[in-house]
Amino acid sequence: MKNAVRLLLGVVTSIGGFIEAGSISTSAQAGALYGFRLLWAIVLAATCVAFLVEMAGRLAAVSHHTLAAAVRERFGVTFHVGPIVAELLLDVLVLTAEIGGVCTALQLLTGRPLRLWVLPAAFLVWVLLWVGNFDAIENSVALLGLVTLCFVVAACRLHPSWSDVARGFVPSVADHHATRYAFLAVSICGATISPYLLNFYSSGAVEEKWTEKDCTMNRVVAFFGMGFGAVVSMGVLVTAAMVLQPRGIAADAFSQMALVLTPAFGKWGFYLFAASLGIGCLGAALEVALNMAYLLGQSLGWSWGENLKPKDGTRFSLVFTLAIGLAAGLVLLGLDPLRLTLFSMALTVLILPVLVLPFLVLMNDEHYVGRHTNGWLGNVVVGLIVVGGFLMALVAIPLQILGGS
């Protein structure tokens, strides 16, 4: 039973990590423009992130140190400061996009304008972090997040040609607008392999006091959790392919994407989409805001933890408070959540190689992972992600200019 509950960390991480504004929009766009042809990108990205998440969890379970803490301790502050600052900046953008996503969902549900919802949404995120503890947040987001399975149900209800779907799992070249195709593939990777997800998971493992004995369970949780996220993303892509592509709708706005569930669920489809978007973005907002506090607290050696009362982690609580305030301010300034999401995914791909490289050292260092060092497969996967990320980064900027929205 305890292990079943542990699965929730994996589920909540993936909900916040990639069933949110970024993933929903890239998967929907991918389906709307290219049918099933980008399913392989989701599988590839989810597999990569599962490997990385498992490593982050293993590091935390054995050393009781999180990723951010371990990087500073092992490599020194001069190496650590660049990636940390980059990750914090990225997190601000993502947090802004996610709060914007919650507001968009509320706008879809009520018809009232987005800006009206910014302060209430930000306040909700803040109060949940202020008053709640890690378990409560994890459990509620994970359970509420199950609503996103509606995409999978809808995909099945639409009776796609499963042989066509299967073909989508084989990497292929686009038959039209190759740059857009490549850009979407890169974006899917950027949306899925989110840096904040890794440190959040390792922080969660420490908050839940995992130990070396939990390493096997960690593997299950990581792959199951990321698998859950992948299946939901694939559901989004398939429904968009079935509903939007035939009608020539490009999914350039959330209001267009909201149509994907209507054929399967009727009027409820629209509400289910809004609920999924809202809950996914709420989960992501909580995760990212917490992660910013985790990053700073763990790098600077503060008392940190969502399980602490604010008075016992004062600087930690101050950070997520300020972060939420800043993000809310940026949304009110008029930053478009969808544009911001797409931009932040390109940025993710840029800093990914640098953030992932330390794994090669940490996961082979017995001081940190004891006898649970990486096997050859783990090291190869990390190496490929670093190289692949670097190549994608080289290509992402011109793609953004040429093929992005």
Binding site: F75, L360, V361, N364, D365
Partner: protein, 107 residues
């Protein structure tokens, strides 16, 4: 009269010999127990020392032939922390070969 110097100010500083030749940058300081405290035994210089510190494994991937230059505490003049100077000839410096460096990695 004793003076203080901060380790982090020494890190990365280029050490020069008496003839102003560059010897290497300070990347590591090895200390040993002395009574109840610790005293400096030697300074490790050079890129190989940096690799040694960052990762034993990555260092060995780059192959042998990279040696760590070792400066004993009494061979270093730290009167000006920003400009550490060698008190002996550069050629007389001990060098750690790979095997000894390997043994030192896990104390």
């Amino acid at each position: 009269m004793s003076r203080e110097v901060r380790v982090q100010d020494l890190l990365g500083r280029q050490v020069r010999a008496a003839n102003n030749q560059s010897v290497g940058r300070i990347e590591e300081i090895r200390v040993e127990k002395h009574g109840k405290g610790y005293v400096v035994r030697e300074f490790h210089l050079g890129a190989a020392a940096l690799l040694e510190r960052l990762s034993a494994h990555v260092g060995s991937w780059f192959g042998r032939g990279r040696e760590v230059r070792v400066v004993a505490w009494d061979q270093m003049d730290l009167r000006e922390p920003k400009r550490p100077r060698l008190l002996v000839e550069a050629a007389t410096l001990a060098r750690l070969d790979e095997d000894e460096a390997d043994r030192l990695r896990d104390p």
